[in-house]
């Protein structure tokens, strides 16, 4: 281990400057979350942590989903719709009935039996895989429409989002469905509860496991997905191509990067993340609900999270980790409203003002610009 010499400090300073958005978001989150826990009567307790984790997960996933298209200077207005659609599928596939779930389609009075979806543990695992696959596939379709249809991402995903919401409404015209109770319990509580529900590690009583038993499952999932999916993608050729397309598409093309594949990969990955979010939302609420305003709110909040997390809407800089913190900041702010007993009527106003303040801080850049032309990027 070399001593932190001047060169290493320089290196750190450069890295901090390159990730100033991420660092700011992390610091802001830490301050807000500390404030929250200090003022919460049961602050710093695992119960509060579990509750927060459940409320944060879906938005954090959507924020990651939104990050990837934004990095290549696109935008995905369908993430909320994909989440809602996947949640509606999940409310059919994850019932956990031991004898399986019979599925059928009814279109204009036509009744088509689709066989029985397997039940039990195998059925639940298969169902979760199918749900994530549906999300990924809808992202892939978005990518194909953008790349082969050559339609601007914002308007293409606006249209596909309407289609996905339509499918969700078709599946669940009224809220309903059911999710296996054990699955709900295992996924939305601490690691200890997870272990005792799925009967591993001596039902969670293994001695070495005790120090970790309090960690909420959603946080573990979030870290796992970030480490196993996002970081390898970012380091892959496709991931770098996504950043390159966001910085300068022409230059990326001239450098021989696989632009089309990068774009499709970006939207597919967004679909995967949104699908994970939808799956968790269904498990958490134990039902499927084709709620259009909720889908819209999640999409818009995902954009806000991305911006607060330090990713430029112009593309090319930032990352999904920052967006996770952006999502957590947004959520902690609404937790704080509950703590400080701010009248629910005033909450939307404060949310909007905080969002405006956050994005306007980035505007300080304008003051440093010497040549006005630099403004018009």
């Amino acid at each position: 281990m070399p001593l932190p010499g001047p060169r290493m400090l320089d290196d750190l300073a450069i890295r901090a400057r390159q990730n100033v958005g991420l660092v700011t978001a992390v610091l802001l989150f830490c301050i807000l979350y500390l404030l929250y826990n200090l003022s919460h009567p049961k602050g710093f307790s695992p119960a509060v942590l579990v509750q927060n984790g459940d409320e944060i997960f879906a938005l954090a996933m959507l924020a990651m989903a939104q990050t990837v298209p934004v990095l290549m200077s696109g935008l995905d207005l369908s993430v909320g719709a994909v989440m809602t659609m996947v949640a509606c599928f999940a409310s059919y596939l994850l019932t956990g009935a031991p004898e399986g779930t019979p599925l059928h389609l009814e279109i204009f009075g036509l009744y088509v039996g689709l066989g029985t979806f397997p039940g039990g543990i195998a059925g639940i695992l298969l169902g979760m895989a199918v749900c994530v696959a549906i999300g990924t596939f809808s992202g892939f379709i978005n990518g194909c429409v953008v790349v082969y249809g050559r339609i601007q991402p914002i308007i293409a995903t606006l249209a596909t989002g309407a289609v996905y919401i339509g499918i969700a409404l078709f599946l669940r015209p009224t809220p309903g469905g059911k999710i296996d109770e054990d699955l709900n319990w295992a996924m939305t509580n601490s690691l200890g509860d997870f272990a005792s529900t799925v009967h591993i590690l001596d039902d969670g009583a293994a001695a070495w496991f005790a120090p970790f038993a309090w960690i909420p499952v959603p946080f573990v999932l979030l870290v796992l997905i970030a480490l196993v999916v996002w970081l390898p993608f970012r380091r892959s050729v496709l991931g770098r191509a996504v950043y390159a397309v966001g910085s300068a598409e022409g230059a990326a093309y001239m450098s021989g990067l696989p632009i089309d594949r990068a774009k499709i990969a970006a939207f597919t990955l967004a679909g995967f993340f949104a699908g994970c979010g939808g799956l968790f939302l269904a498990i958490q609420t134990s039902s499927g609900n084709a709620d259009i305003p909720q889908a819209g709110a999640y999409t818009l909040n995902s954009i806000a999270s991305v911006v607060i997390g330090g990713t430029s809407l112009l593309g090319g800089t930032g990352g999904a980790i920052g967006s996770i913190f952006g999502a957590m900041i947004l959520r902690v702010i609404s937790f704080l409203f509950r703590i400080f007993d701010i009248a629910p009527l005033l909450q939307p106003l404060f949310e909007g003002l905080i969002l405006l303040a956050a994005v306007s801080i980035g505007a300080l850049r304008v003051l440093r610009v010497r040549n006005t032309l630099e403004l018009f990027r």
Binding site: I151, G161, A162, V163
Partner: protein, 319 residues
Amino acid sequence: MTTASLRLSRDDRPILIAALFILVILVAGTVYTFARFGSAPLLSPTYLLQQLQIGAFLGIVSAGMMIVILIAQIDLSVPWTLAAAAMMATSIGGPLAIPVGLGVGLLVGLFNGIGVAYLRVPSMIFTLGVNAVMRGLMVAHTGGYAPQTAATELMQTLASERTFGTPNALFVWAVVSVLVAVTLQRTPLGRYIYAIGNKEAAAYLAGVDTRRVTVICFMLCGLTAALAGVLLAGYSTKAYQGMGDAYLLPSIAAVVIGGTNILGGRGRYLGTLVGVVLIVLLNSILSIMDMPEAGRQVIYGLVIIFMLLVYGRGERVTS
């Protein structure tokens, strides 16, 4: 006459195709209603005028939205600008109702414009925040309930009465349309708008005060949203929560279906007009068919993709 003048320009092709598609909708809808009910409401002027009257609100919102899209920005604050204008107009009442409502729209537009043009915050996120703030202000103002105050006589007359058998709302839409079309085609401001949409830096170097023009565009968009809100409040005799939510995405869709480039700088107002009529007719046919909301959303999305596949395809970036 040479063949060159007969060939359609790049901007006219979408308008023509969208107009043809309207005909297709009309014919298909008439065949459907004739087969099922033995009548053809889509061909009766009364029915069409009634549909267009409802479409006028969308048309007015789309006119402002188009101006903002032409300078390569977007205004997501339209829903609550519209609702705020309607709520303020009804709660003020009296002869000042309409000026106050429109003033609210101008103010919101000014605020949007300053944030986007001078602070250089991307419009996508800034107007989103302004929308949330307006919603917050209105929820705090009304207590979250539908306001009890009623629209004034003048607002109701403008929105739901008829003159010479034609709904007044259509006249308002026509006036807005003429003003916007003339501004875009015949005034320096219109030229600046297209120039900024193509390349803001170039417009700046050519001596255009691009930031001031951007502010003006957002103010115009706020003004049209407010006008639509005032009229909509007159049409339903009062303002209500979330009255603008149904206008944001359709107005963007109408502008884009009409051939305006979502990246700015290209598009004709006639196209937006055609786009609005297309969406209004599509909606009315789907409701004649008793299409459930699920089917509506799917068809809506597919139509947008289909129209853009026909004429909205961008060029590949190759340099």
